[in-house]
């Protein structure tokens, strides 16, 4: 890959290319930001369970601030940035769960970290995450938009209003999409939920 991973200017350019339909840009983007995001996210999961939900904010914050500080991120890019960040967050959390499976937790007793209060049945620190990941992949084949909404809302922690703004949807549509996706995912996952 020709890009210098420390140059956020390239990240912005890639976001632009991705927006214009260059799907290859997405994997480049992922490669450029993955290690950073992953390191930060891992830190979060290890330490953070305040309010018993996952806080994606700080993670996205760091990347976002880095981008806007050095390269004025425009509104059109912002939408893409968040869509991208949400996808990355999902990938990172699943990877983290995969690693965690091989590392036995000290103390023996496990503590659940619900991914989001709305879907508290998914333990972000456990095996539920693979199941969720593959369920989302499956749902994506028929309901792509709903999966993007789930990512923004549950993985990135956007509010419904913000999700609507970022997706260019009406808020009512976002609520319906969530209702449907949640139900669909629960049906798919309930036989194997860790804490359920």
């Amino acid at each position: 890959m020709p890009q210098d991973p420390d140059t956020p200017g390239d990240i912005t350019a890639l976001l632009q290319r991705w927006k214009l339909g260059d799907t290859g840009a997405l994997s480049n983007l992922a490669a450029l930001t993955y290690s950073d995001l992953h390191a930060i996210a891992a830190g979060y999961l290890r330490r953070e369970s305040a309010n018993h939900t996952l806080q994606a904010t700080g993670l996205v914050n760091e990347l976002y601030l880095r981008l806007i500080r050095q390269n004025n991120l425009k509104l059109t890019n912002r939408r893409h940035f968040f869509a991208f960040a949400a996808m990355m967050m999902r990938r990172i959390l699943c990877d983290y769960a995969r690693q965690a499976r091989t590392v036995k937790r000290p103390g023996g007793q496990s503590t659940r970290i619900p991914l989001h209060p709305d879907i508290a049945w998914v333990d972000a620190a456990g095996e539920d995450m693979f199941a969720l990941d593959s369920a989302l992949n499956e749902l994506e084949t028929s309901h792509e938009r709903q999966v993007r909404v789930v990512e923004l809302r549950y993985f990135l922690g956007c509010t419904s209003e913000e999700t609507a703004e970022l997706m260019g949807l009406a808020r009512a549509t976002v609520e319906r999409d969530l209702q449907f996706a949640k139900t669909w995912l629960f049906r798919r996952l309930s036989p194997q939920l860790g804490g359920a």
């Binding site: 937790r105 103390g107 049945w121 309901h143 209003e161 139900t183």
Partner: protein, 812 residues
Amino acid sequence: MPPPEQIEQVFHETMDLPQGVDRGEWLAKRCAGDEELLREVSSLLDANARMAGWEAKSEEPPRLPAGPFGVYRPVRLLGHGGMSTVYLAERIDGQFEQTVALKVMAAYLSGPEFLRRFQTEGRVLASLNHPNITKLLDGGVSPAGEPFLILEYVDGESLDSYCDRHKLPIEARLRIFVQVCDAVDYAHRNLILHRDLKPGNILVTAGGTPKLLDFGTASLLEADAAVTVTRARMLTPRYASPEQLRGATVGVASDVFSLGVVLYELLTGAWPFGTSPSVLTDLRRAAGEAVGTQPASAITQEAAALRAQPLRRLRTALSGDVSAIVMKSLENDASRRYATVRELAEDIDRFLQGRPVRARPQTFGYRAGKFLRRRWLPVGATTVFVAGLGTATAVAIQQARSAHAEAVKSQQVSQFLTGILGATGRAQFDPQKYTVAEMLDAAEERLAKGPKQDPLIEALEHSSLARSYMRMRLADKAMAQLDQAIPKLETLGDDGALADALEAKAMIAQDRGHLDAAVADWERSLAILRRMGRNAPAVLVFDAKDNLAVTLSFLMHSQKERARQLYGEAIAMARKDASIPRTALATCLAHNAELLSSDGKDREAEAMLLEALSTGRQEDPGGQWEFSPLFFLSGMRASDGDSRGAKAYAAQLVEVANRNVGPDSAEVAQAKLTWALAAAKTGESDRAAQAISEAMPVIEKSFASPSLDLWFAGRNASVVMRMAGRYAESERYARLSLKVARDAHIGPSDARLGNSWEALGEALCAENKFVEGLDAMRQAKSIYEKAGPVWAAAAARVTGRLAEIATKAHSR
């Protein structure tokens, strides 16, 4: 398989069915034989129901850890912290009847970093001994390897729910909050930051004592920066400061911010930055782009009920000083917040005692307003004086350079203030026997003859004395103090204090009609503020721009383009910067409207005046600031030929002045004059003349030539008296206004000079002194003709009158 859109569609339709409709039956009908669709949607509905069941079940309490934890065992769960769980616990050995709070660190979190943090909390708490901070009793590690702390158990509820349940009014909430501040300030003085202040970490006992909990994220102020940064990520975003959200190193100001959010919520029941925190609001806050909503705007009917106050009253209570205090704590820029929690608490105390608060942007108008309002309270003159002078001094000090020096200075200045009282040479000082002016003179004498002190403090004292004299309308004495202060501040290079002193000087020059001098001082002040960049106090910049624009346009009628630009900048600045009072913005809008109207844009001007009224009323309905917009609105209605409308606004003006400044004031006299002008035109010329003869003596005593206030009053009084048939008085007032216009340094083609000539001409002709009268009218005509297109109508009017009067003179 049916198409996904259809499944979705039918699923939503079924979910949306009203209660009581049999879903199964409805669905079977809806699917009309499409078995696959029916099966698919049914299974989704079933999953949805099970999901709801799971959510209900998950609320069951988790089991208690086995322990033992020292000599304690957990009894029931109290709550979850960021990285620990808190239980109610009791002694195993039953030696004492003692319930305690047991804080157990989450096992999966254990690791060297977390163990260290946990131990930090233990050390921190053990070192603190304050009635509003929970005490640490014991600590250790359980057999299962879980670190734990034993804390004093506080049987109470969180700060917000306590206040709401008891429906505490604003003052009671503020009193509890001040105690919380004391606890935080105590911790700060022990070099400990809390860093996770929120209502849930503040419990209030049944007796109403707040107790600060959870030093789990506390850090020592002197801890090394790297550790602080790592730890900064553990926070509650709702209460976190922008710098915390950025993951930057945080200081005392960060706790001030969190307390600000807690206070805001206590007062309004709402979060200052929107409905609730989310990724986007957090990012905006981290980037320093979010500005909190004014408390008065955030209040709802429901919140008002929980504060046992009607909505409107609560809105009023939450504007002004309270708003200034909260918003100063919530500044994005840490350096613009209160420097310490103590200062925040002191300002709240000041508010509770009805004294001027420091958070309030310090403009002359505000201080005068606060001062005048207080004059009606039954308090001794000393208190008024000291508080007033103290505030003025505080401004100067606020703008002084180093934070450390500030503490020393403020102490010395208050010693100076105490000294003033002794300077009268009486052991028993009786404030009732001395006027404020006499006390200021005593202060001046002491400053002139007293022992030499730090030159900066001396300069600041001269400045603050000048401000106090200005408040008393003792312009000469104020100027003498400024003449001493300014060279000293120039030598010392204290930009903020210098800009402030120059603005004061400009204000006096403008009052005296020395407009060129005023402009020069404001320009200098602005240049200094520009040089200070981001450190320039926003209010000073705003004031300088507004005042300079007033002088350039309204008073000098010369550089209108520059004035337009300055107004634009000042208004844009105030719209963005909540630290500038809405009332100041309203006044600035009124000034700008005057400029628009002088360009003939009356419609726009009137709209702007109405905007000014609604803007200022958000903060201080019926306050002194309403003077400018009401005054101009009355004038606009009058020039539109709507004398009734003009009179209605003028009546409001009299009321506002009466209420805010008192019946014998220059402001009430000016308001009466405006009313008289409108009343004379609606046929009430006798009452109008009566109002003039009440108002003019006050005005002539309050303003010395070449004050433009005096010019304006003289011209209007002349017009009203002529309409009432009192021609000799009309002539006298016209001559007064002409003298002022000549004394003032306005240009030879300034329309106001024409105005005065016209009034004089009309008065003289009414007295049948035609030769002199016609001469005056010709002067007026030639000035109007040179004054620009807006005055063409006036020129035409005078030309017409000249012809009429000449005919009349001939016929006699």
